[in-house]
């Protein structure tokens, strides 16, 4: 079976500075794939380029179609969703309006059912549905950003640092929901600094350093890798040498 998202030999540059170099990755159906790496490794840049926000040199195909000529809106309509690091909510509009707009490209008849599904995943949003997005707490804003993206019925949801700056209890909640998404047939490409949590729920993993993938494989193997453990998981296996 061919992959849902496949990126081949991707380069992304800001002017003359190459932030992502020769990166290839695949996300299959019903799969959680995570990219872990330090701050500034190029993870966010890569996601933005896959979404079409930044120009990308190389090949990106989604559901068997080349994305090169498609802009952000077309990619959304195809079922590719991004929850960006800064969430980009409509802060002066209420929760319900934010969600409704997430279904802008979906038939109106389906949007109602979509909203019920989002409210089931995030009961907190239902309680706050008339509240302005800008007045929500950080965790609620993250839930709203994910909910808005899910309203578009994505086949693949890309999450950029969903746990950043959130209380541990909310982080656990968000990671639980990510696994629920996989169960309901949505693939997830997860970019995280919290490598430990991300590797625990992911199927496949890539380790990014200075714009390149230095390791890839099954998430459980990556988690067991000594070098990864030392640099990203904050502990050393017995007998592991410092890098």
């Amino acid at each position: 079976m061919s992959a849902l998202l496949s990126v081949t030999d991707a380069h992304v540059a800001y002017g003359k500075v190459e932030a992502v170099r020769s990166v290839s990755l695949e996300v299959g159906a019903n799969e959680i794939v995570t990219i872990v790496g330090a701050n500034g490794a190029g993870k966010t840049t890569l996601l933005s380029a896959i979404m079409g926000i930044l120009p990308l040199k190389g090949r990106v195909s989604f559901a068997g179609q080349d994305l090169a000529r498609l802009d952000i809106e077309d990619r959304v309509a195809m079922g590719l969703g991004l929850v960006p690091e800064h969430r980009e909510l409509f802060v002066t509009m209420n929760v319900e309006d934010n969600l409704e707009l997430g279904a802008f490209r979906i038939e109106r008849s389906k949007a109602k059912a979509s909203m019920e599904r989002v409210y089931t995943l995030f009961p907190r949003l239902k309680e706050r549905r008339k509240q302005l997005a800008g007045t929500l707490s950080g965790g609620e804003q993250q839930m709203l950003a994910m909910g808005r993206a899910l309203m578009g019925e994505p086949k693949l949801l890309m999450l950029d640092e969903p746990s950043l700056g959130l209380a541990p209890i909310i982080v656990a909640d968000i990671f639980r929901i990510v696994t629920e998404l996989r169960a309901s047939g949505v693939s997830v490409l997860l970019v995280e600094q919290n490598a430990q949590a991300a590797l625990k729920i992911a199927d496949q993993a890539y380790v990014m350093e200075l714009g390149e993938f230095v390791l890839s494989g099954k998430a459980s193997d990556i988690a067991a890798n000594e070098r990864v453990a030392a640099s990203y998981l904050g502990f050393q296996h017995e007998g592991a040498s410092a890098i």
Partner: protein, 346 residues
């Protein structure tokens, strides 16, 4: 000054202020959605007014031809963009909305102009013609620059204004025109005399403001427009095209402009270049509203209208000076209240 004069001036000010309010709201809307400071708003006013007056006088307005020419230009832009992947349906849609529609309107205008159409037909044709000009202008002059800075968009906006003003002279000549009243008749209440036309102005302004409020508050497209204004990237990630939002904003702005023109051309004589000054007063209101606040803009527009009415009574030579001087304390206050910000880089 006696009460009668004062009431009369206030009434006059509110009538003008209502028009400025409509224009100010359109300016805020266009700026919020597209970041374009819409200098040609005044030309939408004159084009609407003079197209209406010409039709009512049984003359063929040149604006109908301009709409077709701009439509062909917009179609050419669409074709150029789609040159690598020729989608039959998209091109057909572009052909219908950009070429067939203005061609049909041109034919209708030619037919009706020859036989002095009723007021309602003149109004409808004028609104449609100016609306098309507005939307095609967005496609040609602003959509290709949508990602550039506010300054570049402003320069394009000035360019469009100058071009439209020149074309206005070509189409309508240097003489002023007046149009027939939309609603004739009048009645008096105490010392005040209300003409049908001024009541029409109030009625349509209120209806439009309520209509816009409902559109933005309740409809999906209205919400999409607000969303684009609040967060452009967020809107794109929700699948809302910025070009669609821009088209809707320009459509509303051109209809509002043309409607304002049709409302005032029975009250005052309008020339091909009168619109600029009228648009600027809407702009003063929009600036007082910080180019973001709709209610503040509407209130400011009424103040602008009333100040204008009083200054034209007391010091008619300095009327414009006094109105535009309103800006100075407002800008001072705003600059003191808000810290200096660099233009957003997006």
């Amino acid at each position: 000054m006696n009460t009668t004069i004062m009431l009369f001036l206030v009434q006059d000010g509110i009538t003008n202020g209502a028009i400025y309010a409509l224009l100010g709201l359109a300016l805020v809307l266009v700026f919020a959605v597209t970041r374009v400071i819409l200098i040609p708003q005044g030309e939408f006013v004159t084009y609407g007014a003079l197209t209406y007056a010409s039709l009512a006088a049984g003359q063929m307005p040149g604006t109908a031809k301009l709409a077709l020419a701009l439509g062909v230009g917009a179609f050419a832009f669409d074709l150029f963009v789609a040159r690598r992947a020729l989608h039959g349906r998209l091109i057909l849609r572009s052909l219908v909305t950009n070429v067939a529609l203005p061609a049909i309107v041109l034919a209708l205008t030619t037919y009706f102009a020859a036989q002095k159409p009723p007021v309602a037909v003149s109004i409808a044709l004028s609104l449609v013609i100016v609306a098309m000009i507005g939307v095609y202008l967005y496609r040609i002059a602003f959509q290709p620059l949508a990602h550039t800075s506010v300054l570049v968009l402003l320069i394009a906006s000035v360019g469009v204004h100058l071009a439209l003003q020149g074309l206005g002279l070509l189409f309508f000549g240097a003489e002023g025109q007046r149009g027939p009243a939309v609603l004739s008749g009048a009645f008096t209440a105490g010392a005040l005399r209300f003409t049908g036309q001024s009541l029409t102005v109030y009625g349509i302004t209120i209806a439009f403001i309520v209509g816009l409020w409902l559109f933005f508050g309740l409809t999906l497209y209205g919400k999409a427009l607000r969303a684009t204004a609040v967060n452009r990237l967020g809107a794109r990630l929700a699948g809302i095209r910025t070009t669609l939002s821009g088209q809707i904003a320009f459509l509303l702005a051109s209809v509002i402009g043309a409607l304002s023109g049709i409302l005032i051309v029975p009250i005052t004589t309008l020339y091909y270049d009168s619109g600029f000054l009228i648009g600027l007063k809407g702009f003063v209101a929009a600036i007082i509203g910080g180019l973001v606040s709709y209610p503040l803009t509407a209130v400011a527009a009424l103040v602008v209208g009333i100040v204008e009415a009083f200054s034209s009574f007391y010091a008619s030579n300095y009327k414009e000076v006094i109105v535009f001087m309103l800006l100075i304390p407002v800008l001072l206050l705003r600059s003191l209240a808000a810290p200096a910000v660099e233009e957003e880089k997006d």
